[in-house]
Structures are given as structure tokens and as C-alpha cells.
Symmetry: C2
Subunit: 205 residues, 2 copies
DNA sequence: TATCTAAGCTACGGCACCGTATCGTAGCTA
DNA sequence: TAGCTACGATACGGTGCCGTAGCTTAGATA
């Protein structure tokens, strides 16, 4: 009821400054919003609740963001994950590594729990839809990088449509995670990658 | 302000019976709920709005369903679509037809607009999750039927995992519809099916 | 020490929603 | 005609939310 937080993040116990700096306040608000987002989805992020969790006064939050939506955008932006692009030297190795990383994120990442609510919002709000498209493209850019390298090595057909390759691999993973709700084990992921490789390498030649 | 509706569906203008039968009232409520669901997603279905749209008094709605959630379940159940299983005589023909039908539904079906909100709800409510799994399995049962026939004809490896085949085809379609937000043209759909066939037929032999 | 910036608190008006209570009444059936 | 069933209208209590107002005060800076 009295001891307030210390810096970005949870309400800690240090009796430090009862008043936080502008930056600390913004960070704490965003952290709480992020937390709520992953826990309850977009609709679970209310300004009142962010204020409660962060220990930042609601009025203060409104001094930093003009509306709930603005805060939400900032929070989503902040943690939009980007898959890091592996470089194993072979197309098969790269794709397998990337796919396994993606599967990992899908299963354990807190982001994957917030995703459906964003997709849902995008369904009826064009601004969100554009934002989501952009963010998503960024997240999946690893596929493009990998394909480009493979093409440079002559390992992959020059005129292959990267977006098809991406859909062929990410699609089945996403499908299992959110639609059929089956397990995403390593065998499945490797199978998906092999399927994509069979097509791209042998069937075109 | 005064003239009420006629039967199941929209508030029509005929000054017909101001009081509808028990059945008509239930049908009208469900129809309105369905409409709101496809238009605004799960969270857009409020009892007040259902009452407004259907012309059924809120009190009456509560006489038929104990809670908003119960009404929602009924409404979702009612229209959960089931892809009809084609029978063209060949595996390629069947899968292509099924996939094209699915793509069609994804792009034009009102159901596809409600889906993300259900997935989102399933993310944090196990009851919804189970419901969704079941419904989804039913919707995708066509793949199993097709595969079984192909296996009986010896066109398909007996030990193929149908769920992998389903994921390989439905996955990329869903992915494009909701995640990458790209167009789902016929060429893409056919490509996805070919990819699946290449694997299942040649690579195993 | 004086000043100024920005955080904190309490409270509010407005709205949408859930679920219930109360009363009135249409229309069927005995 | 009497009575029963189920719908309709209004209203309410309670909650959660958005965004704002008014005021206080900590802490950095000049």
C-alpha cells in the first residue's frame, strides 16, 4: 500500500524513490501492458489494470499516451519477436534450425498466446491489420534471407516464390499450434521441412 | 419503435403477431447471435445487442439460456461448418477439390471472420479449447475420409499420418488467410496440394 | 532556497454490459 | 369465459471500463 516500485518492471520492495522518473514510469507501464497482453490478450489490457499492476497512477499513464490504443500499440511493438536467422551453410540446415526455433516460440513463447487476439482485432480493424502484416513480415524475414543465400549458392531455384516456402513451413506449425491443437514435436517439424525441401529441390529440376 | 418481427431472423416490418412462439423466439435469438458473432467476433455478442437485433426481450432470452456464454455456445454450435467431402476417384482430385472448397470458405465465409476470436478464447479457456478442438476435427474430417479411400485403392501409403497431410494442406491456407494476409488464389492452393502429393506419393515409394 | 516539472491521489461523468425483479398482457386451451 | 404459459417493457443494482478534472507534493534544477 505504501512501498512503490523501483524501476522498469514489477513493483519491487526497495524503499528507493517513491516517485519514479519519467522513463521509469513509461517502462513500468509498458511492462505491465505487455504482461497483461500475453496473459489475457488485447482485450485484457485495460488502463486501470495497467495502472494497478505497474503502480503508476492512471492519470500519469494518460500523460504519456493519449489513449488506451496508443499504449497498446507501443506495448505490442516493443516485444514483437524477430526470429534470428541461422546460417548453417546448407538450405536444409538453415530451414530446419529456423523451423525448430519457430516451433519453440510457438509452444513456450508468451507471444504466441497473445497472437490470436491480435489476429482477431486485425479481422475488423484495418489499422491493426496493416500493423500485423508488417510485424509478421518482419518476423518471418528469416525465410527470405535463407532462401536468398541458398539461391546464391545455386541450391535453390532462382524463381522460387519465397512466400510459398514460408507458408509451406510456417503454415503447418501455426496450424497445429492454434487450430488443430496438436503437439508440435520435433519429428513433425522436421517432417514439414523435408516436405518443403522435396518440392523445392527435386520436383523442379 | 413499435412494429416487431415476424419469424426467425431479422426484425421484419409486417405487423403480424407481436408475440412469437417459443421456437420462433429461440430461432430469432440464435440468428441474431450468429450474425453478431460473424460481424464482431465473440466479444461482440452481448445479450443486450442480441435482444436489440432480434427484437426479443432480454428477459426472454434469459428465460431460454442461463447466461450469455450458454447462448454463445449454442450459436457457435449451430453454424460450425463442415466441409463436404468430394469423391472424384483420385487422391489428387479429391484433395484439390477439398482444398479449393476450404480456400473458398476462408475467403468468403462469414465463419472465417469469427474463427480468430474463438481461437483467442480457446487460448485461455480450456472449455472453449476442447470445444474448438472437437469442432475443428469435425470440420476437417474430410481429409481422413479422402485418405482412407486412397489407401483402400492403394494410392497412398498405409502408414501415412493423416494429421500431417491435413496440416500440410490446411496449414498454408490458414496461414495466408490470417497471418501473412496474402491472397489465396487458385494457383497457390493447387501448389499446396501438389506439394503434399509429391511427398506422399513419390518420396515414400 | 525558489521554481518548475511531472508523479501521485481521489473523484467524477458517461457508457456498456450482466443478470434480475416486477409488472402487464397476448394468445392458446379447457 | 377462466386460467395458464410465455413473451414484452421498464427499471434496477452492480461492475468494469474510458478518459478528465482538480489538487497535492516529490525531487531535480537554477
Amino acid at each position: 500500500m505504501s512501498t512503490k516500485s523501483r524501476s522498469a518492471g514489477e513493483p519491487a520492495e526497495g524503499p528507493e524513490p517513491l516517485r519514479r522518473s519519467k522513463e521509469a514510469v513509461k517502462a513500468a507501464s509498458l511492462a505491465a501492458a505487455y504482461e497483461l497482453l500475453t496473459e489475457f490478450g488485447l482485450s485484457g489490457v485495460s488502463v486501470d489494470e495497467v495502472a494497478r499492476r505497474s503502480g503508476v497512477a492512471k492519470t500519469t499513464i494518460y500523460r504519456h499516451w493519449p489513449s488506451r490504443t496508443a499504449l497498446l500499440f507501443d506495448a505490442v511493438m516493443q516485444f514483437a519477436p524477430r526470429l534470428q536467422t541461422p546460417n548453417t551453410g546448407s538450405l536444409r540446415g538453415d530451414l530446419t534450425s529456423l523451423a525448430l526455433g519457430l516451433a519453440q516460440r510457438l509452444q513456450t513463447g508468451r507471444w504466441s498466446s497473445a497472437m490470436p487476439s491480435i489476429v482477431d482485432a486485425a479481422e475488423r480493424d484495418t489499422e491493426v491489420a496493416e500493423f500485423q502484416s508488417r510485424t509478421h513480415a518482419g518476423m518471418m524475414s528469416g525465410f527470405g534471407a535463407i532462401a536468398a543465400r541458398a539461391q546464391a549458392r545455386g541450391e535453390l531455384d532462382q524463381k522460387l516464390d519465397v512466400s510459398e516456402l514460408t507458408a509451406a513451413i510456417a503454415g503447418p506449425l501455426f496450424y497445429r499450434r492454434w487450430f488443430s491443437r496438436q503437439e508440435l514435436d520435433e519429428a513433425f517439424v522436421r517432417g514439414v521441412v523435408e516436405r518443403a525441401l522435396v518440392w523445392d529441390c527435386s520436383s523442379h529440376g
